[in-house]
């Protein structure tokens, strides 16, 4: 369980995180979605107490991260920036972390096998590829068998097999009742893994909803239809808040009406329909719509100040 209340972080005069309030519940995978530079990594550093918030508060499992007696048993974290000494072997890196909590060597071995780094465990981490580095970071995150798992862009650098593995790992962790919080700028990846989404843009929360609701709300009323009398139907459908676009002869995309409304109009006028398909916006499109609004909102907000200046 992660709970943030009005979480804010300024770096100089730049506001990286702006009044974020959210909670991440156990038992589901919560996606943390936003474009690069939107404040995801900063938020995660604030959760871990690596950076101190300018305002607001964030707790993990009911306490500030810093106040946990055994933090690695509470939260396992993979940060976006590499957090491994390049001169140390993967095994010794994990062992050094394990020793702070009295975690035995057998657990280190177990994690090395889990992430598939057995053959390179004695090699210096500096020689690792991006994907191997991610696996090592994931092993470190899971070392303490934590009840909350927080991963920043975990599929970065993983091969397709690794991405598949990561998805099932995350679902498995959530299935065991753990809190799973995963950031990504790849909406398509999140739509496959996350049950719930927290979307941020420019440090502000834009959406906090289930993935399915997010998709259906964002798709709006877009319907594609095929008809031999497309031109006639088009004239009948057009209204102030309805637009019709001909994608190809006889094939239309209608914005602003549902498939039911269009079908009824066609039937009432005796127009034949060969296809009538409601379009579901991809998560990418939904996301870009949302963040565009956020950016426009920001711009509108700035105008009065500029006028004064």
């Amino acid at each position: 369980m992660i709970e943030a209340q009005g979480l804010t972080k300024d770096y100089g005069d730049k506001r990286a995180v702006d009044g974020l309030t959210f909670s991440v519940r156990p038992g589901v995978v919560t996606g943390f979605l936003g474009p690069n530079g939107s404040g995801k990594s900063t938020t995660m550093r604030l959760i871990l107490g690596l950076d101190a918030p300018t305002g607001g508060d964030v707790t993990v499992n009911g306490k500030h991260y810093r106040d946990h007696e055994a933090p690695l048993h509470e939260v396992g974290a993979l940060l976006e920036a590499r957090s491994v000494h390049t001169g140390r072997s993967a095994y010794n890196h994990l062992l050094a972390l394990a020793r702070t909590h009295g975690i035995p060597r057998s657990r280190v071995d177990e994690l090395i096998d889990l992430v598939g780094l057995r053959e390179v465990a004695k090699q210096r981490a500096g020689k690792f590829s991006l994907g191997m580095g991610q696996r090592l970071g994931i092993a470190a995150a899971l070392l303490g068998d934590p009840s909350t798992v927080m991963l920043d862009e975990p599929v970065n650098g993983l091969d397709p097999e690794g991405i598949h593995w990561m998805r099932s790992l995350l679902k498995g962790l959530a299935g065991e009742g753990r809190t799973v919080f995963v950031s990504s700028h790849l909406m398509s990846e999140m739509s496959l893994t996350a049950d719930h989404l927290i979307v941020i843009g420019r440090g502000r929360k834009i959406a906090d909803t289930s993935t399915s609701e997010f998709l259906s709300a964002a798709s709006g009323n877009v319907v594609r239809l095929r008809s031999p009398q497309a031109a006639e139907l088009s004239r009948l459908l057009v209204a102030p808040d309805v637009t019709v676009e001909a994608l190809e002869p006889g094939y239309l995309e209608v914005h602003g009406l549902t498939a039911v409304q269009i079908g009824d109009v066609a039937a009432a006028n005796g127009i034949a329909l060969h296809e009538l398909t409601p379009q579901q916006a991809s998560l990418e499109e939904a996301f870009m719509d949302l963040t565009r609004e956020e950016i426009e909102f920001k711009a509108a907000e700035l105008e009065p100040e500029e006028a004064v200046a």
Partner: protein
């Protein structure tokens, strides 16, 4: 990595309890001995501590016959025995800086502070582990340097000095203590500066640049101030003779310990306050 896809469940593990200072010390010991830079720096420190006295003793011994009385009077056997300390201190200081700045440059510090979010146990553990390791590893070299240089100089009565002579044992063992303190001082500097190049430059400025600059000052000022500089105060720990304008071994040594404590205290305050 072919077995990867088959293992997807995280095995459960017993929760082994909380972070303790002792556990963090064990962790820092693992970190220290598992890096090549540690082994190379300490090896260089050991080599320089022994090699310079052996070299100086051999050169002095072979030129003794041609040296003037004045030159001979300038040679002190303990200066020869501990000549290496002045050189090896740089290797130890570089390692002291690296012990902490290496974590900042690689990002390891984020993993360290995630495991130990109270942070200060990490600083104390690094200090203890590095202090104990550098003292234990530098003690044999200063003893070897003393007895080896004495053996080489055995033909020259003027250059013989007994280990039991007042102040000699203190000076020789003091060489190892001085190196340990230099390492701790450098570690504190590294924790404040958080950057390898900056840390080494700061250390070099304090130890090698500022002391000669003191000669610009009027002599009375120089005499009054120089003895209190970290390098000058620390030097008294392994010096047998003490000039009119230098501190005695104990006050000098304690002052140097004070500088180390001050550096670590500043580092501790900044460590808790700063973002990582």
């Amino acid at each position: 990595m072919s077995t990867l896809a088959s293992i997807q469940r995280l095995p459960r593990a017993a929760h082994t309890g909380r972070v303790t200072q002792f556990r963090v010390v064990l962790s820092e010991w693992t970190k220290l001995h598992s890096l090549r830079s540690t082994r190379w720096s300490l090896f260089a420190g050991i080599l320089l501590t022994i090699a310079f006295p052996v070299l100086f003793a051999a050169v002095t011994s072979s030129h003794w016959g041609t040296m003037s009385a004045h030159e001979r009077a300038d040679r002190h056997p303990l200066d020869i025995a501990l000549a290496g300390v002045n050189v090896s201190q740089l290797a130890i200081a570089v390692l002291g800086v690296l012990v902490i700045t290496g974590e900042y440059s690689t990002g390891m510090i984020r993993a360290s502070f995630t495991a130990v979010p109270k942070r200060l146990p990490v600083l104390w553990a690094k200090t203890v582990v590095f202090g104990v390791v550098s003292f234990l590893l530098m003690l044999p070299p200063v003893l070897i340097a003393f007895f080896a240089s004495q053996a080489i100089l055995s033909r020259h009565d003027l250059l013989q000095i007994s280990f039991s002579h007042p102040g000699v044992a203190r000076s020789v063992i003091g060489g190892a203590i001085y190196l340990m303190l230099v390492g701790i001082f450098a570690l504190g500097i590294g924790a404040i500066v958080r950057n390898t190049a900056g840390g080494i430059a700061t250390f070099a400025a304090i130890f090698f640049v500022i002391p000669p600059l003191m000669n610009i000052l009027p002599t009375s000022w120089n005499n009054a101030i120089s003895q209190y500089l970290p390098s000058e105060a620390g030097r008294q720990i392994f010096s047998l003779t003490h000039g009119a304008h230098s501190l005695a071994p104990w006050p000098g040594g304690l002052l140097f310990v004070g500088y180390c404590a001050l550096t670590l205290a500043i580092a501790a305050v900044l460590l808790v306050r700063r973002d990582t």
